[in-house]
Symmetry: C2
Subunit: 254 residues, 2 copies
């Protein structure tokens, strides 16, 4: 792993992610959102819409990492169990709260009925603060170091706008990617291991690619140290060139 000192976990909640019905895209979106804030995603879990599983996972993660981001399970239907699970995890009560109710009332006024199901979306654990939802209004919330967000990707990303200012990040990890067409992992493995051993503050990775047009490698270096990153770029370029390939530099891909 890289050298970021502030670490987060992502907890994706929903049967549909485990059944194969839905392809998750929220983990990558959250990782890309956090990286420039100096927060590294160190672990992720996917759990079903089962309260005990949600509670166990969030309690394991919130004590281990600086921040936890959950997605999913805060809508109006019976399979939306995240808010109650968060209250249980933190040992606090939960009820419809006036500020959240007011947001829903303003949104649904004159358009459709704010029925009991929709009011479920105003159930907020005691002590939580609301996270604005610019897309569909029903708010997320922050409780302790846990940010509880929607599962629909467009809504989740909208909520992140009200999260950035709450994060105290660390050093920002940057990366460089050097691409080598026609290079095989087995040809650079020894050289890459030497680079890793000689640069303890830098994380190196090797990612093969295959397409109809050919194959090759992306070699990636990640570190918060700008000078070390510049040296790694030179070293990776030299390593790719030593295989007879033309190195291509792809900045900020990782």
């Amino acid at each position: 792993m890289s050298q970021g000192e502030v670490k987060a976990a992502v907890l994706l909640i929903g049967d549909e992610l485990l059944s194969g019905r839905t392809q998750d895209v929220n983990l990558q979106a959250i990782a890309k959102f956090l990286a420039p804030l100096g927060v590294e995603v160190a672990e992720a879990r996917v759990v079903p819409d089962v309260p005990d599983e949600i509670v166990a996972a969030v309690n394991a993660l919130r004590t281990k990492y600086d921040y936890v981001f959950t997605t999913g399970g805060i809508g109006p239907t019976h399979d939306d169990k995240t808010a109650d699970a968060m209250a249980a995890a933190f040992g606090v009560s939960i009820d419809v709260r006036d500020d959240a109710r007011a947001i829903l009332e303003a949104h649904y006024k004159g358009v459709q009925h704010l029925n009991e199901a929709r009011l479920r979306m105003a159930r907020i654990p005691t002590g939580a603060t609301l996270i604005a939802n610019p897309v569909s209004k029903a708010p997320g919330f922050q409780i302790g170091n846990v940010f509880v967000l929607a599962g629909v990707p467009s809504i989740m990303r909208g909520m992140l706008q009200d999260v950035a200012h709450r994060i105290e990040g660390g050093a920002v990890v940057r990366s460089v990617t050097v691409r080598g067409r026609g290079v095989k992992e087995g040809d650079i493995a020894a050289g890459l291991a030497e680079l890793e051993a000689a640069a303890p503050g830098v994380s190196f990775g090797s990612y093969p690619w295959f397409t109809l047009e050919g194959f090759g490698l992306h070699l990636v270096a990640r570190t918060a140290d700008a000078a070390a990153l510049a040296k790694a770029e030179t070293d990776l370029t030299t390593l790719i060139a030593s295989c007879g390939a033309t190195p291509e530099i792809v900045v900020d891909m990782a």
Copy 2:
């Protein structure tokens, strides 16, 4: 969750999945592979290329579920730490094994050098059986109830062909999806909760969708009981129709 009695966990291994560099697609592929075999994915985790994290995760999962599928970290480079972590998790030794070495020797013969780095891919924990790799030859392996697969999606999918015959599945869970254009979750939440309460063997889910052309819902029912599934299809169709929408049935989507 649905009613499948045989449960699996998926453990995705790799810094690149947590940094946001790579969008995982293996979880969904494994879930879709297992569903018709009567195995339900009940949990997934993503961990970095850190031996202690890999060991802790696989030990937590292999004791809780019938099967565990890992992806990633079995290539030739220094960041490929999965095989050694599996040996540590099971408390067994690991070394280059003759059968795995023979596969690599046949593959690399005359083409390129079977160097020390590539030989790392023949390191197999004691007691494991090999999993054939029809794509790039370097094998995966099964140790106990854990299947250790490659991270590159095309290679991972190839390896699954040598996994199906090793699985003892349970009842196959099938699903039905009923689509309702223009229907909102808040309008069907109460009715859906009634259906769930009246059919304890069926798992119901509600998934809103939004596009430039409009919005709507997919209501999903999942169960291994064919008669209960047929009733659920009728009930969901009626529920969508009660909102004034035309129900569309999408079989086998979930």
